[in-house]
C-alpha cells in the first residue's frame, strides 16, 4: 500500500504519484498532533480526501520523510512557551509577554478556559487570534512564570 512517490514541484506543492495517477497540492496532516506526532500521518488532497495513510513516519523512505516534515514545519505552528515575562492583568482578557522557542511575542488570553489542560503538567493556550501555545511541562518554567501562570489555573 505504501508504493507511492512524493515530490515537490516548481509551484512548491507536494505531488503524490500512486497507481499511475498524480495529485498536486498534497497536504500532510498529523492525526494526533499532540498525543502522537510521529505516528498516524495522513496525506490529504486539496479536495479534502485522504490519499495515503502512514502508520509510522519511519515506514516511508527518508526523502519522503524529509518532504513531509518540511511541509509540516510550514503548517504546524505551536510555539512552546519557555517563560512568561509579564501579564497585563490577572483578569481576562489579559495580554501576556512570553518567550517561546520561536522567539518572543505577545499573546492575548481572552478567557481562562482558553487554557486547556492536556495532562497533569502540560497546557495548551489558545490566544485570541487562534494561535495555540504549548507549555509542555509547567514544572520546567521558572518560579516567576509559574507564579503568574498559577493565577490563571
Amino acid at each position: 500500500m505504501n508504493s507511492f512517490q512524493l515530490i515537490r514541484n516548481a509551484a512548491g506543492q507536494l505531488v503524490l504519484t500512486r497507481n499511475g495517477e498524480s495529485h498536486a497540492g498534497i497536504v500532510p496532516v498529523r492525526a494526533f498532533p499532540i498525543a502522537a506526532p510521529d505516528e498516524c500521518i495522513s496525506l490529504m488532497g486539496i479536495d479534502g480526501h485522504e490519499h495515503v495513510w502512514i502508520e509510522k513516519l519511519s515506514d516511508v523512505s527518508d526523502d519522503i520523510q524529509t518532504l513531509i516534515l518540511e511541509e509540516l514545519a510550514h503548517r504546524e505552528f505551536t510555539p512552546e512557551i519557555g517563560r512568561i515575562r509579564s501579564v497585563s492583568s490577572f483578569a481576562t482578557p489579559s495580554s501576556w509577554q512570553v518567550e517561546t522557542d520561536r522567539g518572543d511575542t505577545e499573546l492575548l488570553l481572552k478567557a481562562e478556559d482558553h487554557i486547556r489542560r492536556l495532562s497533569a503538567s502540560a497546557l495548551l493556550i489558545t490566544d485570541g487570534h487562534g494561535v495555540s501555545f504549548l507549555i509542555r511541562n509547567t514544572e520546567n518554567l521558572d518560579a516567576h512564570s509559574r507564579k503568574l501562570l498559577d493565577r490563571f489555573l
Binding site: 503548517r75 505552528f77 483578569a91 481576562t92 495580554s95 520561536r102 522567539g103 494561535v131
Partner: protein, 748 residues
C-alpha cells in the same frame, strides 16, 4: 501620497525606494520562513513589491500573482510567477485582514502598471476588519478596549450595588458604633468595683451597698443596651446585604443573557451556574456576617485603645505591642490565601462541571456502561480539589494558632508590666483588672479579625469571578451611536463577509445580495457554513471580516434587540419553554392579544391540534415540549415566528426532524410564513426548496453557485451533483454526517 507605514520601518523603507517611487500599501509580517517570531514589512509601490526583510524585490510582471491561505493560526502569502513559486511569507492571523487588503492593493497596482492608467481614486480608508470607513483612524465598530479591572479593590466595586442602600447602611453603622460603645462599659465599671469596694473591704472597710447596687445596675443596663442595639444593627445590615446580594445576582444574570452566543459556546454551564448562584451567596454572607463582625472589631479596638490610653498611657502602649506583629502576619499571609481561594473556586467549578456534563448525558453514560469511568472523572476532579485545599490549609492551619500564641504572649507582657507598675504604686489593682478585662476581649477580637483575612479573600475571589462576567464586553457589542430603522424592507447585503471559529475559517469572503421578499435556499454539505451564515445574519456572532447590512445599514450599527425583532427564526429542534402553549407562541411578543395568538396558530396550522389538547391553549408544555410530537412543536415555533411578523425569516432545517407526512403539514404552515418576507432557508431535502427564488450553493464557507433550480440543473455543477445524489437514493441526506448536530446546537 504617503501611506502611514510603521515608524520603525520608515527609514529603511525610504532607503529602498528609487526617486519618484511611491508607496501605496504595506503589510506587517511577524513570522519568518521557519515560523519563528520576527518582524518584517512588505511594501507595495507603483512599480514593484519590496520585501524589507530580505534584499528581494519583485517588479510587476503580468505573470506575477499573490495567493494567500491559512492553517492552524498561520497565514501564508505565496508569490507565484506563472506556475512556479517565487517565495512565501508567513504571518499569524492577527494580520489576516491586513493581508487580504494587501493582496487587493497588489492586484490593483499591478493592473495599473500593466495598463499604464492611474490607480482608481482612493476610496476612503476602510477598517481592515469590517470595511466600514474609518473615523479618525479608528473603526467605529471594531475598536475594542482591553479592559483590565484592578484586582486588589475588587470588593470595593461592590459599592455600585450598595449605593441604593446608603441610608440604611449609614443608620446600621451608627447603631454599630453605639452598640460597640455599650459593650465597652462593663470592664470600665470593674475599676471602681475593685478599687472602691473590694480592695477597701479586704483592708477592713465594710462594703458600701449603695455603690455596689449602682455599679451592678450599670453592668446590667449596659448589657441590655448592647443587646438591643446589637440586635437592631445586625437586623438592618443583614437585610441590606441580602438585598445587595440579590441585586448582584439579578444584574449578573441580566448581563449574562446579553452576552453573545460565542461566550456561551466557550463556557461550561456548571461554571456559570456556580458563579451566579453560590458565589453571589458567598459575597452576601461575607457582607452580612463577616464584614459586619470585622467592622465591629475595628471599632472595638479603636475604642478600647482610646479608653486604655486615657487610663494609663504606658500600660496601654505595652498592651498594644503585639498588634503590629499580628498586622504584619495578616498582611503576609493575605496574598497566598487569596490566590489559593481563587484556585479553590476554580477547582470547585471543575467539580460541578463534571456533574453538569454527565447528568444531562446520563443516557449515553448508561448505554455504554461507563458509570465507573464517569465516577473516576469525578474522583479526579475531587482529588484535585483536595490537593488544592490541602495546600492552602497548610498555610491556614499555621496561621490561627500563631495568632493565639501572640495573644497569650501579649497577655503575659501585660501581667508582668502591670504587676511591676502596681508594685511601684503607679496604678491600682482595679486599673490592672480593667486592663486585663479589656485586652482579653481585645485579643479575642484580634483572633476573630484574623479570620477576616480568609473570608475577605474568599469573597474577593468570588467577586472577581462575578465581575469577570460583568466586565465581559459582549462580542456582539451594542453600537455607541445606534441607528434606528423604523419599518424595514428586508434587503440584505453581505460584503466580503468572513468568519473564523478559533483558527478555522468557516466563512470566507462571501458576497451576496438578497432582495426584499426574496426567498433564498442555502444548500451544501454539512460543515459548509450554512448554519454559521445564518448565525451571522442573526448577529449571534459578528463577522470577523467584511460586513452585513440590512437596507444598506451595517447591522453592527443597529441596537441588537431592535434588529432581532425583525427576524423570525425557526430551528430544526424547536425549543419550548416551560409554560402554556399560548405563552410559548407569544414568546417574542408577550403583550399579544388572544386573537393574535389564535390567528398565528391558525396560520401555522397548529390551531386544530392545540384544541385537541385537554386544556387547549392553556396546556402546559414541559422543558423541551414533552408530550408534543416533533411536528407539533415545530408548528408552535412557526406560530411564534409568525406572531412577531418579521420582515426577515430564517428557516434552519425547519423540516429536518419530521417524517414526510408531517413535513407536508409543516410546509403548508411555512408557505404562509414565507409569503412576502425575505426568507433564508436551509434544508437538506432539496425538494423542500422548490419555492426558493435563488439557491446559493456553499462549499467550505464559499459560494460556489447561485441561481434558480433550473439554471443550476442546466449548468450541471455542484448543485446538479447534490440533486442527482438525492434523486438516486431518496433516503440519502446531505447531512448524514453527524457533524451537523453540533452545528444546530449552536443555533438552537
Amino acid at each position: 501620497m504617503t501611506l502611514s507605514i510603521p515608524d520603525a520601518w520608515r527609514i529603511k523603507a525610504q532607503s529602498r525606494l528609487t526617486d519618484g517611487e511611491t508607496i501605496t500599501g504595506h503589510l506587517e509580517l511577524n513570522l519568518d520562513a521557519q515560523l519563528n517570531f520576527t518582524h518584517n514589512l512588505l511594501l507595495i509601490t507603483d512599480c514593484r513589491l519590496i520585501d524589507l526583510g530580505s534584499d528581494c524585490d519583485y517588479p510587476y510582471r503580468d505573470t506575477l500573482t499573490l495567493q494567500h491561505r491559512d492553517h492552524g493560526g498561520v497565514g501564508r502569502i505565496e508569490l507565484f510567477d506563472g506556475a512556479s513559486r517565487l517565495t512565501c511569507w508567513f504571518y499569524t492571523l492577527a494580520h489576516n485582514a491586513a493581508a487580504t487588503r494587501f493582496i487587493k492593493q497588489f492586484n490593483q497596482q499591478q493592473a495599473c502598471a500593466r495598463t499604464g492608467l492611474p490607480a482608481a481614486p482612493d476610496a476612503p480608508e476602510l477598517c481592515p476588519d469590517c470595511l466600514t470607513p474609518l473615523d479618525q483612524g479608528e473603526c467605529p465598530h471594531c475598536s475594542i478596549t482591553l479592559n483590565a479591572p484592578p484586582r486588589a479593590w475588587t470588593l470595593l466595586r461592590l459599592w455600585r450595588f450598595a449605593r441604593p442602600y446608603q441610608w440604611q447602611l449609614l443608620s446600621g453603622f451608627l447603631l454599630m458604633l453605639a452598640s460597640t460603645a455599650a459593650t465597652l462599659v462593663p470592664p470600665y465599671l470593674t475599676m471602681p468595683l475593685m478599687d472602691k469596694v473590694l480592695i477597701p473591704y479586704q483592708n477592713g472597710k465594710p462594703i458600701d451597698f449603695v455603690i455596689v447596687s449602682w455599679l451592678l445596675a450599670g453592668l446590667l443596663g449596659s448589657a441590655l443596651l448592647a443587646w438591643g442595639l446589637g440586635w437592631a444593627k445586625t437586623y438592618i445590615l443583614a437585610l441590606v446585604s441580602e438585598r445587595i446580594g440579590a441585586d448582584l445576582r439579578t444584574i449578573t444574570y441580566e448581563h449574562l443573557l446579553r452576552l453573545s452566543l460565542e461566550y456561551f459556546g466557550g463556557k461550561r454551564t456548571g461554571d456559570l451556574m456556580s458563579r451566579i448562584g453560590s458565589e453571589s451567596d458567598r459575597i452576601c454572607v461575607f457582607l452580612s456576617l463577616h464584614l459586619l463582625d470585622f467592622a465591629t472589631d475595628v471599632l472595638m479596638i479603636v475604642m478600647t485603645a482610646a479608653i486604655l490610653f486615657s487610663i494609663n498611657p504606658w500600660l496601654a502602649l505595652v498592651t498594644l505591642v503585639p498588634l503590629p506583629f499580628i498586622a504584619w502576619m495578616i498582611h503576609n499571609v493575605r496574598d497566598r490565601l487569596r490566590t489559593g481561594f481563587e484556585k479553590i473556586d476554580r477547582v470547585w467549578s471543575e467539580v460541578s462541571n463534571v456533574l453538569a456534563d454527565t447528568i444531562p448525558g446520563i443516557r449515553v453514560v448508561k448505554a455504554f456502561a461507563q458509570e465507573r469511568r464517569e465516577a473516576e472523572h469525578f474522583h479526579v476532579a475531587n482529588a484535585h480539589n483536595l490537593q488544592v485545599n490541602d495546600r492552602i490549609n497548610k498555610i491556614w492551619s499555621l496561621f490561627t494558632p500563631s495568632v493565639s500564641l501572640l495573644t497569650e504572649i501579649g497577655l503575659l507582657v501585660v501581667w508582668a508590666f502591670g504587676i511591676w507598675q502596681v508594685s511601684n504604686n503607679e496604678i491600682t489593682v482595679g486599673v490592672l483588672t480593667a486592663f486585663l478585662a479589656y485586652i482579653s476581649r481585645f485579643y479575642a477580637r484580634l483572633d476573630s479579625m484574623s479570620r477576616i483575612v480568609s473570608v475577605t479573600q474568599k469573597a474577593a475571589a468570588g467577586a472577581k469571578r462575578i465581575f469577570d462576567i460583568l466586565d465581559h464586553v459582549s462580542s456582539v457589542p451594542e453600537p455607541a451611536n445606534p441607528v434606528h430603522l423604523g419599518q424595514i424592507e428586508g434587503r440584505i447585503d453581505l460584503k466580503g463577509a468572513g468568519f473564523r471559529y478559533g483558527n478555522r475559517a468557516v466563512i470566507k469572503d462571501l458576497n451576496l445580495t438578497i432582495q426584499p421578499g426574496e426567498m433564498i435556499g442555502l444548500v451544501g454539505h454539512s460543515g459548509s457554513g450554512k448554519s454559521t451564515l445564518v448565525n451571522l445574519m442573526c448577529r449571534f456572532y459578528d463577522v470577523s471580516e467584511g460586513s452585513i447590512s440590512i437596507d444598506g445599514v451595517n447591522i453592527k450599527s443597529l441596537p441588537v434587540s431592535e434588529y432581532r425583532r425583525h427576524i423570525g427564526l425557526v430551528l430544526q429542534d424547536p425549543f419550548l419553554f416551560f409554560g402554556s402553549i399560548a405563552e410559548n407562541i407569544a414568546y417574542g411578543k408577550p403583550d399579544a392579544t388572544r386573537a393574535e395568538i389564535v390567528a398565528a396558530a391558525h396560520a401555522a396550522h397548529a390551531h386544530e391540534f392545540i384544541l385537541r389538547l385537554p386544556h387547549g391553549y392553556d396546556s402546559l408544555v414541559g422543558e423541551r415540549g414533552h408530550g408534543l410530537s416533533g411536528g407539533e412543536r415545530q408548528r408552535i415555533s412557526i406560530a411564534r415566528a409568525l406572531l412577531i411578523d418579521p420582515r426577515i425569516l430564517i428557516l434552519d432545517e425547519a423540516t429536518a426532524s419530521v417524517d414526510t407526512e408531517t413535513e407536508k403539514e409543516i410546509q403548508k404552515a411555512l408557505d404562509n410564513l414565507v409569503h412576502g418576507r425575505t426568507t433564508i432557508a436551509i434544508a437538506h431535502r432539496l425538494s423542500t426548496l422548490h419555492k426558493a427564488n435563488r439557491l446559493v450553493v456553499l462549499d467550505k464557507g464559499e459560494v460556489v453557485e447561485i441561481g434558480s433550480h433550473d439554471e443550476l440543473m442546466a449548468t450541471q455543477g455542484a448543485y446538479y451533483r447534490l440533486y442527482q445524489a438525492q434523486a438516486r437514493n431518496v433516503d440519502t441526506d446531505l447531512n448524514d454526517v453527524p457533524a451537523i448536530q453540533t452545528d444546530n446546537k449552536v443555533s438552537a
